[in-house]
Amino acid sequence: MSSTTIPKARRGSGSPLNRVIRRYGWLVPMIPGMAFLIAISVYPTLYSLNASFYRWNLAASARRSLTGFRNYELLLSDPSFWHSVVVTLVYVAFVVALELTIGLVLALLFFRRFPSDHFLRALLILPMVVAPVVVGLLWRYMLNPRFGIVSYLMSLVGLPRVDFLGDPALALPTLIVIDVWQWTPFTFLILLAALQGVPEDVIEAARIDGARSMRILFDHILPMIRYPVAVALVLRLLDAFRVYDIIYMTTRGGPIDATQTLSWQIYDLGFKSFDIGYAAAYSWLMLILVVAISTVALAILFRKTDFA
């Protein structure tokens, strides 16, 4: 071989410092991210917890007084608190149930390939990525009894024009429908991916055994997609609890208090009344509720032993 000069590899030192670097050096890139996450999650949460033990209203006076669990006591005996709990739970329950069911039906519909399925699927994801404020405004427009398209279509078939968002009895169901509209594509995508992951041969074996389609669905397919279903359920659950933007753009907690969810109440207390202590206690009760429900949901879903 010819004599080209190839620079030799640099020989580092095998010093103890090198050994330390080698052992823990990989941690370094993680520090900014972890520090950031901890700072912005832990600090406010603890601050909030702390604040909940005070009687503290920014508007009244800058001073605050320690009251222990008084805020919590007040809350638990406050009927409007319980009302917002009920509103929230009703909302979450219906929204999740409907989205999972309709999403499953859609997923089954799209399961076997057909011409233009990819195109249609690409269109279906669009509601999910629309900003919630836009969703709120759009539906508010469409549901307007005077010039909304929905009322117009209803009048065409002889139904009266209804003010969906202004009727205390209809407001919450309407919000539920709106949420279902926006997020069913989400559960649909997850369930479709899950269905496509079910091994073909198990289905075929069941079919050979004589099982009809509905039976196969319930006996085999549903159990096998339990994990993705759980994921979809918990995620939608968590997101449904947080719903705020839509309410802001449509009913603002009304009419009266028909759509006053926990999120709405907390925002109201914190940024309208500046009653920070109370709002903090509210937030913590909400957090506890959310964690409790998601834990229960997960436990139920994984109650039976999992199979590969």
């Binding site: 080209t4 620079p7 020989r11 580092g12 080698r22």
Partner: protein, 408 residues
């Protein structure tokens, strides 16, 4: 029978090689221990010394630690205890970047987003060589490996064999102190494998860099290595030339691992008067009395190719056998037989068919008592079901201790 891995019984082929390039570099493992995070110990005190320019093969069943040893050499695996030397320097605490080794990975690990030229150039580029030098070196290496027409192609547009050569080129282009290969041929089809084997050896002869080659295929190990290190469960079993491994295995594991079909093994007991009793027949092996005590339980080992169907100067031990099955191979005959002529032929066949290893006794993890195989001349008149006599050689017959498996 001593086995000194660092004995300079050196590679016989070294003299034939052209003067090796570069720095004097042997490779050595010194009491290397590698323990993983989950507690498993992959290497238990490995001592191995590879001479400058030697082609050494690490071979063993999966999980034996050969790949771990190679990766420890490269610096990709940290060592829990012990030291590694390359070219005389202690590199144990050095990163792979600083060790001046080159490696060919099992799946080649080519850079998919770079073309062949850039793949070959990368090691040089990283070291800051000038573009002129890089170009010259890359083209030279490409020429050597017949890769010149493919320089602009990306790995996905290459065949398996071409990719393998690019991986080799990338390792060669640098002229490292040591060359590491992790089962580089296992992803190729049989014909290509044979072809590449000789190509690798030719390259080695030309370049003369110390090479450590890992494989699980003992045929590859035997045909390629100047010396072969047989490993099992993290422990080095034997490190010798292929010839020594074949003729003088240190223990029953090495004997059974090397050679295909593998060595025939049967239990025997040392006879008082010098000789053995096995399966009801007396075997006049004079050596038995010298290396073992009377009444000691041993394992008798005869390689399939050590049998003959007629007595001659070499084959001096008679064995009465019951042939079970004769396979005509064209150039030779494979005779499957049982050592106990009185055994019911049917029963023996059944045990041969089911091959239930679990019901066979094991010595040092090696199953003993399987139906035997002999490679014989096609003129052998043996017929299945009819007892006959085979002749073994006292010189090549192995004896192992039935407890430890060590060669006696």
């Amino acid at each position: 029978m001593s086995n000194n891995p660092s004995a300079a019984g050196g590679p016989a082929t070294q003299a034939q090689r052209s003067a090796p390039i570069g720095r004097a570099a042997g490779v050595a493992f010194e009491q290397v221990v590698v323990t993983f995070a989950d507690g498993t110990t992959a290497l238990k005190g490995l001592d191995l010394e590879i001479g400058h320019g030697e082609f050494v093969v690490l071979v063993g069943p999966s999980g034996c630690g050969k790949s771990t040893a190679l990766r420890a050499l490269a610096g990709l695996q940290t060592v829990s205890a012990g030291a590694i030397r390359i070219g005389g320097h202690d590199v144990t605490d050095l990163d792979p970047q600083e060790r001046d080794v080159a490696m060919v990975f099992q799946n080649y690990a080519l850079y998919p987003h770079k073309n062949v030229y850039d793949n070959l150039a990368y090691p040089l580029r990283v070291r800051g060589a000038s573009s002129a030098d890089i170009d010259r070196q890359v083209r030279q290496t490409a020429e050597l490996l017949a890769l010149t027409p493919f320089l602009q192609r990306k790995p996905h547009a290459l065949s398996g064999g071409q990719r393998q050569r690019v991986a080799m080129g990338r390792a060669l282009v640098r002229k490292p102190s040591a060359f590491l290969m992790d089962e580089p041929l296992s992803n190729l089809d049989a014909a290509l494998r044979v072809e590449m084997r000789s190509e690798i050896l030719a390259l080695h002869r030309r370049i003369g860099v110390s090479t450590v080659y890992v494989t699980h295929d003992q045929v590859e190990a035997m045909t390629m290595g100047d010396r072969v290190a047989v490993m099992r469960a993290g422990v080095l079993q034997q490190f010798d030339t292929p010839k020594t491994l074949y003729e003088r295995p240190r223990n029953i594991f090495v004997a059974a691992f090397i050679g295909s079909p593998s060595i025939n093994l049967a239990f025997a007991e040392v006879h008082g008067g010098g000789g053995l009793i096995s399966a009801g027949q007396t075997i006049p092996l004079a050596r038995a009395g010298k290396v073992a005590k009377a009444g000691q339980k041993v394992v008798l080992g005869v390689r399939p190719e050590a049998f003959a169907y007629e007595q001659d100067a070499e084959h001096d031990i008679a064995l009465k056998v019951m042939p079970l099955h004769v396979e005509f191979m064209g150039s030779e005959v494979l005779l499957h037989f049982g050592l106990n002529p009185k055994q019911d032929a049917e029963q023996a066949l059944l045990s041969a068919v089911t091959e239930e290893e679990s019901i066979l006794a094991k010595v040092d993890g090696v199953a003993v008592g399987k139906p035997m195989v002999a490679r014989l001349d096609t003129r052998c008149p043996a017929v299945a079901g009819r007892e006959c006599t085979l002749w073994a050689s006292s010189r090549t017959t192995q004896l192992f201790d039935a407890e430890s498996g060590a060669t006696l």
